[in-house]
Symmetry: C2
Subunit: 203 residues, 2 copies
């Protein structure tokens, strides 16, 4: 993460890690600052020395995590681009990147989904910005695909982007929570089949 490994950075990182799992399991409100501090192996005061409030800690956590996700999606898209792949291939690569992210940071994903559609919460505006960054990456690829004729002009870009993201998110969380025995490749090919429209039996 942050290259300048000052003492402070190390502490913040420990706090992120402690907070993300606790909040994913219990939700924001029923996770106490004492718990976070204890899990991070740090005194409660340290939390407040490093963050203005419990909410601010959480918001920075969100920014941090979504930053990692969008970076990973963009990398997948760019890499396909460089290889001269099609846009559908880019989408496929992004699905895989998304699954990889969720596999590596399941707690973060859980927490993100749980908070995303809540209204009236302190961090709504942060979430909105951060969501748009992630969805925009998918929308861009869809738009390019429509422009070069590879994708149907009929598609509704924002809605399709949302549906694709949702498909990946929910399938992956379900996999993590209820179907642990599957491999990431199982999940990827199930989603790939849907993306390529090969669910109905023709061919």
């Amino acid at each position: 993460m942050d290259s300048s490994s000052t003492r402070r950075q190390v502490t913040r990182q420990k706090l992120y890690e402690a907070a993300v799992t606790l909040i994913a399991e219990q939700g924001f409100s029923s996770t106490t600052v004492d718990e976070i501090a204890e899990r991070a192996g740090v005194a409660k005061g340290t939390v407040y020395y490093n963050f203005k409030s419990k909410t601010e800690l959480f918001e920075e956590l969100l920014r941090h995590g979504v930053g990692l996700l969008t970076a990973s999606l963009r990398a997948a898209a760019d890499e396909t681009e460089e290889r001269g792949g099609t846009k559908v291939e880019a989408l496929d690569a992004m699905i895989r990147a998304g699954l990889g992210f969720i596999d590596r940071y399941p707690a973060f994903t859980q927490l993100y989904v749980a908070e995303l559609w809540r209204t009236n919460r302190a961090w709504q505006s942060t979430l909105l910005v951060v969501r748009q960054e992630a969805v925009a990456v998918v929308e861009t690829v869809l738009r390019e695909g429509v422009d070069n004729g590879e994708l149907s002009k009929e598609i509704d870009i924002p809605l399709t982007a949302a549906a694709l993201v949702g498909m990946v998110l929910v399938a992956a969380l379900d996999w993590q929570a209820f179907q642990r025995e599957r491999t990431i490749d199982d999940v990827h090919s199930a989603l790939s089949l849907l993306l390529h429209g090969r669910v109905s039996g023709r061919r």
Copy 2:
């Protein structure tokens, strides 16, 4: 349940309605029983006369809501069956039914998604049962479709069911939260296009 007393049922219904919107907005832990009672226009004592605890109220809410959803999905599937429609048509009808449900009970959907993948919570077992009921309806249709050759034998039924449910859920929540101007038909056709594999530009 106790079909005897109508008065009690009315009170419980008012409490469900109050609780569902408040919890969807704020989450379970930061919603107080006093708030729920006030919004329902009922005394606090009444809450505890009708439910053992705040948690129990919430669990019954979950059961109640998912009951409505599965009933609506099953109705859509059965109706298509009776009309002699194909399985893909049944899936399409279920997507529409799902969207209709989310449109009618957005708060419930929000709350369900927020809680579904949490681990270590009091009501986890309730959620697990209730989730399985809903997903099973989709899995059944997929299985029948594979059996009669209408759907590809390649598909992984549990994963595809999860992905389809996720697609609908997330697209609909996004629609409700961020793209209110769209109609339910916009959303339905975007999802339908995906289901039929007509995203790639061929015809």
